[in-house]
Amino acid sequence: EPEVTQTPSHQVTQMGQEVILRCVPISNHLYFYWYRQILGQKVEFLVSFYNNEISEKSEIFDDQFSVERPDGSNFTLKIRSTKLEDSAMYFCASSPSGQGLWLYGYTFGSGTRLTVV
């Protein structure tokens, strides 16, 4: 069964450093997302991406965050200067259609656990 792949599975970084989280969405999916889940808290929307541009972003997704689809397969989330409160599980997800999200839901990756020290 097709899956969303995320690397690395665990990233430890020092506060103020830049990190790049990588994702390979399902090949025929068109909509890509980043969510995060702070330990013990709910899954929070960060950003959605379609046709090589951001479709929607949340208040969490400030100027320190950026997303990119550098080639036909990878989808990356960059945090420019990490803060302690950025420590969380970051999930990449994809969906076959933005208009079909209500019907098909998300396919999530296994996540990257980011620890900022």
């Binding site: 899954v43 929307f45 479709s55 999930f91 209500w102 019907l103 998300y106 999530f108 990756g109 296994s110």
Partner: protein, 112 residues
């Protein structure tokens, strides 16, 4: 902002017992989805309900969407230790919604 409240937050039961988890909102959703998440993994989609009053069964799991499409329930019959996990509901506010809203989740522990 549309909110989804799940209850109970934590549930610990013995193998073989039945349980029901609830997902409630004051808002109408075009669909509600249920996901199951295991520690260290991403949520996995279990089911999507789209029609008010709809009932879907997935082996021992029964999902129901409220008539007014504001709430949903998940009932598990004869729970097994393999059912242990975090159960999340997520709602799409419209058929062209760009994102879904997630509930806080119900952590289920089934003891052998």
């Amino acid at each position: 902002t549309q909110l989804l409240e799940q209850s109970p937050q934590f549930l610990s039961i013995q193998e073989g017992e039945n349980l029901t988890v609830y997902c409630n909102s004051s808002s109408v959703f075009s669909s509600l989805q249920w996901y199951r998440q295991e520690p260290g993994e991403g949520p996995v989609l279990l089911v999507t309900v789209v029609t008010g009053g709809e009932v879907k069964k997935l082996k021992r799991l029964t999902f129901q969407f409220g008539d007014a499409r504001k709430d949903s329930s998940l009932h598990i019959t004869a729970a097994q230790p393999g059912d242990t996990g975090l159960y999340l509901c997520a709602g799409a506010p419209s058929t062209n919604a760009g994102k879904s809203t997630f509930g806080d989740g119900t952590t289920l522990t089934v003891k052998p």
